[in-house]
Amino acid sequence: MHAIEKIFAQKANVERVKAGDRVWADVDLTVNVDLYRTVLAEFENLGGTKIKYPERVAFTFSINAPAPTIQSASNEKDMREFAYKHGIHLFDINTGVVQQVLMEAGLVWPGTISIATDSHATILGALGAVGMGVGAVDLAASMIKGNIWFRVPEIIKINIDGELQPGVMAKDVILKVLGELKQDVAIYKAIEYTGSAVRNMSLSSRMVLCNMAVELGAKTSYIQPDEKVIDFLGSRVTRTYEIPTTDPDFKYAEEYSLDVNQLVPQVACPHNVDNVCDLDDVPKKPVNQCLIGTCTGGRLEDLAIAAEILKGRKINAKTRLIVIPASKEIYLKAMELGYLRDLIEAGATVTNPGCGPCLGAHMGVLAPGEVCVTASNRNFSGRMGSPQAELYLASPATVAATAIEGILTNPRGYLKSQQRS
């Protein structure tokens, strides 16, 4: 069996599972985000009165944080009252993006199953955990019963070997994968990332791969945990846990491989995540807004490379740069290391941790005709505001260099260090 199958089998309390099986499996962490006031309605609708395992349920407020409208304020008010009443975890507007704060809080460890009203729950694969996005009904059911049904997914292996050039980041790798394999390659399936490039990546970089697995259609993702994971979990997770492993005879549904030695910065052009080109091949047009942040591009290493590129420089007078650290912990660390100062002095607008304008809720919504280059994860039409705006996905380094020039720019010439990222 694959490690993912072993996790499903264990949580379903059965000996073996295989792809296509439907199982009822225990959920270790059930997460609702602030967009889903509807979960409360479904909870009631399903006859829920009590939460089976309150310690396994968390509400996170990162999208409409702080509330931009009366309706969202009212939704959050109801959800807070629900959280207080039932004694579940509440990560309020002062914490950060959903999965980032849950990982930092030690609520996720290898071998667990998490569901969330957040499609980017696939990010948890970086910790060797199964994370899946669901809707309000599943979420409410899981709060009541502590388990839901799953279809055990086929598993695809994507092997990534090689060493990244300076200024080329995990984001470029996953965009390249998207461009090659397309956004429906892994529908209903799980993705495991392997290979030397993945092993050499920081945990934050691996999170980028797993985060965007959902853009390939995946149900969940997985990277075999190593020392980097154990170090991160360190003092955050005090309980013991077992790291599942894949049997040597396991047969993947599909296998793909990518060599990244010669990879150059990638860009996903409007309006699809798999509409990917080498940065240098994209026609240069004026960029109105740049965004560094969110669950994809707002971690410390993202802010570090942006600060390195922008320190002592000024952003283009006709371009805005919005920087949103993924969590309070990252904000504090970036402040301590001087990154925030460097970014603000260069002309960045630094906001509170959260999802920012990524899905068009507030904090940098786009007008018709505007162009935005973003380190976030989706460039769908209308994602960040007007359907007539254009979104280009790129790495945080590319976004930072672009903010300086006001047109899409390769970050290579702007890095002071020549270390490989």
């Binding site: 967009l35 509807t38 809707g135 009904v137 019963k145 149900k219 769908f380 994602r383 505001g385």
Partner: protein
Amino acid sequence: MDMVITGKVLVYDDNIDTDIICPGRFLELNESKDIANVAMSGIDSNFPEKAKTHSIIIAGKNFGCGSSRDHAVRALKYSGLKAVIAQSFGRIFYRNALNLGLLVIISKDARNIFNDGESGKIDLTKGKITNMDKIITVDSDVISEEEFKVYEQGGMIQIYKQN
């Protein structure tokens, strides 16, 4: 639920994502009718009006890719749609549809035989989709008995309720 569903179709391309079906700025809405009012507003602001006379969506691959928002399913269901046929579906959308009882059917070929406004017929048990205007029939995946029961009861939500 009927084993045979008929209605006029609306045809869409590949990768109709959840930001098209229900843009992020509307996710604060809670009432089904309010959500239905913004259905497909990322691509077609007249959709709610069209949905009064058209009851089947036929799309290309990866329909509903993107977010976990079940607002996307609600938007379509409560605008009166009977079914969505696509070459493939975003995983979470598919799951949400099953949960909320919006009929979703996978067919590789249906997309190729329909134009907007034509009449379609879906035979669930036989796995056949017919363009009634042109009298062309193509295959679809057959809905399993298990899934049919789920739909018949109004989605997984009803089954959860009974448990």
